[in-house]
Amino acid sequence: MTELQAAVNDGLIMTWRNLKRVPRIPELAIFAILQSIMFVVLFAYVFGGAIPLPGGGSYREYLMPGIYIQTLGFASITTAIAITDDMAKGLIDRFRSLPMARSAVLSGRTVSDVIYNAGILVVLMLSGLAVGWRVHGSVGEFLLAVALMLFFILAMAWIGVLIGLLVPSVEVAQQLGFLILFPLTFVSNAFVPTSTLPSWLRPVAEWNPFSALTAATRDLFGNPNPFTSGFPGDHPFLLSILWTVALIVVFAPLAVWKYRSIDR
């Protein structure tokens, strides 16, 4: 077996192993979906009525892409927890003692998390349709939006891997993940138009990668997108790609470096 064959073979086996646990711990997927649905209910039915959209349009259609991106962002916590759990239980040690490709533990983790979260996304989109979210763009635009979101999951998974390798326990992974993701997802355009924010906070929200992704997918789905002008408002798709690439370029090598230095 060549090195490349081994990397693919072992990565696929790790992916298989990671996905195998999804139906065996159904709580994980169920809670991830319920949490998102809770946000949908909260914003669509509780706060939504008080949030006017500049330029009009359906708030629920505005909301759903924000929910998708938020959910995919929070998915990095799931990744972190899985890695921390494998470390704590000694599984990572076992894998490191095997003649398998060194890349497989992390590649298997990130690939399986992209597949897993794609599944979560499908369920969320169906719930979106149920509360009145509609796609007005073309099939091509729809597929482009989905591809962009899958690419974003990959970036979030790499961040999750790094967090998982850095923290000592599952509890810390969870706390730290929430601490990072809550402000990132809320100081964004996911739930409210950034024009309602105080002027000092507005640039933060506008340049936030979560805002870029949300705005880009809103555009592609043909949902209301009252974004302010300036580069982030004019080029959300370009900014999304730049952000996602930048996150992967920064976090994937850091995670790989951290993984390789476990033997110190």
Partner: protein, 323 residues
């Protein structure tokens, strides 16, 4: 030929507050087809040694070869030749026993078919065939350890590392584990085993190396070690602390008894086994010394440690436990 050889292994764990010298120059050798028992208390450096030999950890100094390959420069070749079963049973608890073994087999780069056949074979041998299709989460401690050992054997390793294979198991689990390890040994496996129990090393190993504070402080067969420690001993617990000195003089006239004031315990070497015990009871009875307890005891790890180092095995500071 040596299947495992290590020279001058040093490992220092640094944290912000302290520096723990987990290994302070460990040399060891395991010949092909033999079993070396690495005996020592928690924190002595046993696990660190195994982790270095299994390529999981880099030493700060020293070198080691496993199955003829350098653990630092030829780590991947070492990994092909070894099986590791750790102190914390590292199987995936969300996979079934069969799935675990298949996965580890595939990661040793067996074909899917080979991995399946080998998994069936090991499940049967380790009495896991009935539980094979249940997730490992539902296994008992003993079953988990057996599955863990099976996972270590799936690639037919030339050298097997077992890190405290029976720690935390109940007596029945321990005996079951000894059974499967003994089978491996009979079939000619080269094995490095760490343990806190002299009895276990005695039971399974050809040769024992005693580790303390990151160094090998003694090595030899179990008989050699025991003769160093002095074989069986008699322990007497006196009722009155005031009687201790007189009793010690009475049962060990040469002044060879060890006396512990606070437990009122006198320990002497037992050279005549049960007859000696009867003699001690008689002497104490005739002198009218009341005793609370008397027993004939085989040497334990504590005795080995007391003799070799002058301190008991569990006296190590707590912070070293983690290492």
């Amino acid at each position: 030929m040596a299947a495992v050889e290590a020279e001058g292994l040093v490992k220092v764990y640094r944290s912000r507050k302290s520096e723990v010298r987990a290994l302070d120059g460990v040399d060891l050798e395991v010949r092909e087809g033999t079993v070396l028992g690495l005996l020592g208390p928690n924190g002595a450096g046993k696990t660190t040694t195994v982790r270095i030999l299994a390529t999981l950890l880099k030493p700060n100094a020293g070198s080691a070869r496993v199955a003829g390959f350098d653990v630092l420069r030829e780590a991947q070749s070492v990994r092909k030749a070894i099986g590791l079963s750790g102190q914390y049973a590292a199987v995936d608890e969300n996979l079934t026993g069969r799935e675990n073994l298949w996965m580890f087999g595939r990661l040793y780069h067996l074909t899917s078919r080979e991995a399946r056949v080998r998994a069936d074979e090991l499940l049967e041998r380790f009495l896991l065939d009935e539980a094979a299709d249940r997730v490992a989460k539902t296994y008992s401690g003993g079953m988990r350890r057996r599955l863990d050992l099976a996972a270590a054997l799936i690639g037919r390793p030339r050298v097997l590392f077992l890190d405290e294979p029976t720690t935390g198991l109940d007596p029945r689990g321990r005996l079951g584990m000894w059974d499967v390890i003994r089978t491996q040994v009979r079939e000619g496996a080269t094995l490095l085993l760490t343990t806190q129990y002299l009895e276990e090393a005695d039971e399974l190993a050809n040769e024992i190396a005693v580790v303390d504070k990151g160094r090998i402080i003694a090595r030899g067969t179990s008989d050699q070690l025991k003769s160093q420690v002095g074989g069986e001993r008699i322990e007497v617990v006196a009722h009155e602390p005031a009687d201790l000195a007189r009793a010690a003089q009475l049962i060990a006239p040469g002044g060879t008894a060890t006396t512990e004031e606070h437990t009122r315990r006198i320990t002497i070497a037992a050279d005549g086994g049960a007859a000696h015990l009867v003699d001690v009871v008689r002497r104490l009875g005739e002198a009218g010394i009341r005793i609370d307890d008397i027993a004939l005891r085989r040497p334990t790890l504590d005795d080995v440690f007391l003799t070799l180092t002058g301190h008991a095995a569990e006296e190590l500071p707590a912070e070293e436990e983690a290492a």
